[in-house]
Subunit: 421 residues, 2 copies
Amino acid sequence: MDSQKIKCSDESFISDDVRMRGFKQRSTVEQLTHWLDQQSIDLAEESIPIQDAYGRVLAQDIVSDINIPSFARSMMDGYALIASNTQGASSYNQLQLQIIGKSMPGHGTHVKVTPGTAVKIMTGAPVPEGANAILPAENVDMEEPFILVMESVAEGRNIGRIGEDISLDSIILKQGRSLRPQDIAMLASIGKKDVVVRRRLKVSIVVTGNEILPVGNKPQQYQITNSNGPMLEALSLRDNATVISSTIVADDPEQIEQAMLDDYDILLITGGTSVGEEDLVPLLVAKLGELVFHGVTMRPSRSTGIGVVDKKLVFLLPGNPVACLCAYDFFAGRFIRQRSAKPRNWPYYSVQKKLKQKISSHLGRTDYARVRLTKDNTVEPIAISGAAILSSTTEADGFIIVQANSEGYAAGTDVDVFLYD
Amino acid sequence: MDSQKIKCSDESFISDDVRMRGFKQRSTVEQLTHWLDQQSIDLAEESIPIQDAYGRVLAQDIVSDINIPSFARSMMDGYALIASNTQGASSYNQLQLQIIGKSMPGHGTHVKVTPGTAVKIMTGAPVPEGANAILPAENVDMEEPFILVMESVAEGRNIGRIGEDISLDSIILKQGRSLRPQDIAMLASIGKKDVVVRRRLKVSIVVTGNEILPVGNKPQQYQITNSNGPMLEALSLRDNATVISSTIVADDPEQIEQAMLDDYDILLITGGTSVGEEDLVPLLVAKLGELVFHGVTMRPSRSTGIGVVDKKLVFLLPGNPVACLCAYDFFAGRFIRQRSAKPRNWPYYSVQKKLKQKISSHLGRTDYARVRLTKDNTVEPIAISGAAILSSTTEADGFIIVQANSEGYAAGTDVDVFLYD
């Protein structure tokens, strides 16, 4: 970075005094999430091969133009026959039928089943004309070219009806769905090659700070290496967004402004987002668009903000890594996951555990407390838990959320633990 | 496919009679999973950029060769000062200190804090010599070049100690861990560019059957389009394996044998895996290696098998799509997920719900029952639920497992529902 270009003392548009005086008014977590849930975004459709579609969001209802199965098929290995020919059969009353043919998957047979006869048939093979039931192979003794029926079978039994899985002209998958592995199988089975999905959300990541080194450099002196950038890339990837750029920008209004005008759907910007002297981001968001929220009654991540620039969402994430992770998951991730048709609340499994030690909080503040699972099947808070202590999130097994209407939880309380994945 | 090459009547190595007579002896789900959990596989190490490492399994302990922070840093925007200089301060007893400098992130200051003075400091900036506490900006009134201290601060307060996040020579991440977004951030912050991980498990997928069409073709007559292949690809991808090949092979011993000798770590082979006439796969596994299990006391997926060929695991998955999905998740997926350091049991969220209608099963059989969430917050089984009815897995919201020691669950029973993702 060219230090000549860094103008962190360019404070023409706001007085130093204002910057150092904290948030004018903080919002609650609920205010932010409620607002976020009202926001919409128009993601274009794109056609992709079905084999690439796992986890993608279906853009159109899928209507089948065929029946599956398209023919009456056997559900078992056994014998296609006339059900009434088996009536009264048992081990003690074996009924003889003559095998007159064989129906194999993909082929079938032209032989017609008549009273007293049966056709050997494999699972998935077409049921021959005349037959109305399949008797499983295990209910038969062989005496070639005859079978000895040892159990009766009801009409229709073990036959897959035409269209019983997928019926012609029915909607088999609805738009807005995140495609599962079995959905891909459905698409394949009706002959689809491609499927129309919403394109992924395009995320731009900007890490601001004169002191930030690019990944792969060991921090010297007072520098720190960019860690929020790669973390946010992984988080965005996990939540099915596409990261279109991930850059480091100096604490320079022009450079930050430039980065804010990229071709993203949402911008994640971290560092310089609070109310300190170098915190240019909130001011620039307000200048270029609207700073809708700034300051949240939560710990960590109280300096989180949300803005709108050029009709696009900008998430102001704290520079402290724990706070950055937390603010991503509470807000930016929520928005992204909703676009991916994923559960918007948490991407984490939750389990209920007893607290080993109490957790204190303040009324009116939401806390994100990292916890460790203990050997006695409880959870305990991580001791060193400042917003700057990234290791608190790697040593933790997960976190609990202390809601704003609680002063914390006593030891022994049952709490929901969200497990890091 | 050249029908001349198809030799589905080549039955020289086993009699037709044996093939049609069912499983000699079935094993329990627990026998298979217990055996699977004993199996090991040696996955080589590979070095990859940390930015590609999310979800990968760490192959070596990571030891930090630096302290983070590497300098005493401010945790707040405020003033670096001598804590004792603030003793007794309040709104009614404001204590004056002279601002003698400024410490910014990445730079710091050479100015030394002495009694009666303070240095303005930003979050993340180095604490100047002489200072032993940071007073937050909001606890100060300005009267340039002085601050009026309105609250006392204890020694050490709001200062991040050297090494308090990551200490020199400590193990920060242990081998065997599936890397989380915050782990990537840890690796970045100590200056790592690359990280040594286990390579992904290589999966080969083979779908057998003369009647199977490749993806993208509409089934005609008695054909069906390959749907298990793309489904198994998506499942393997979800569980962090690499699919090295996915092919359709005719019911021809030579072709199947050829496919079994590919360069995979595990083989998923579906279709022709039961005990019917065309079911060549179990016989070929036994011929080329060992068929360890064949036939499981579960529904669906009772024809599931596990074999070992050339010291590599072969999973014989039923051709019926529901059974294929189920057998993958119970067995093959379990093995794959364990190699990805993911929870081996289920990749699905589970929630507890009341059953709206009873589910019947048989003692000694494990059932995989697809269920739908209802509006009254219960779950109900999907009506059409044969192993061939793929739509039962797309219409379902998830499934419940009826354990082998249960004859089913009465309406009103609390059950664990595994939600499809």
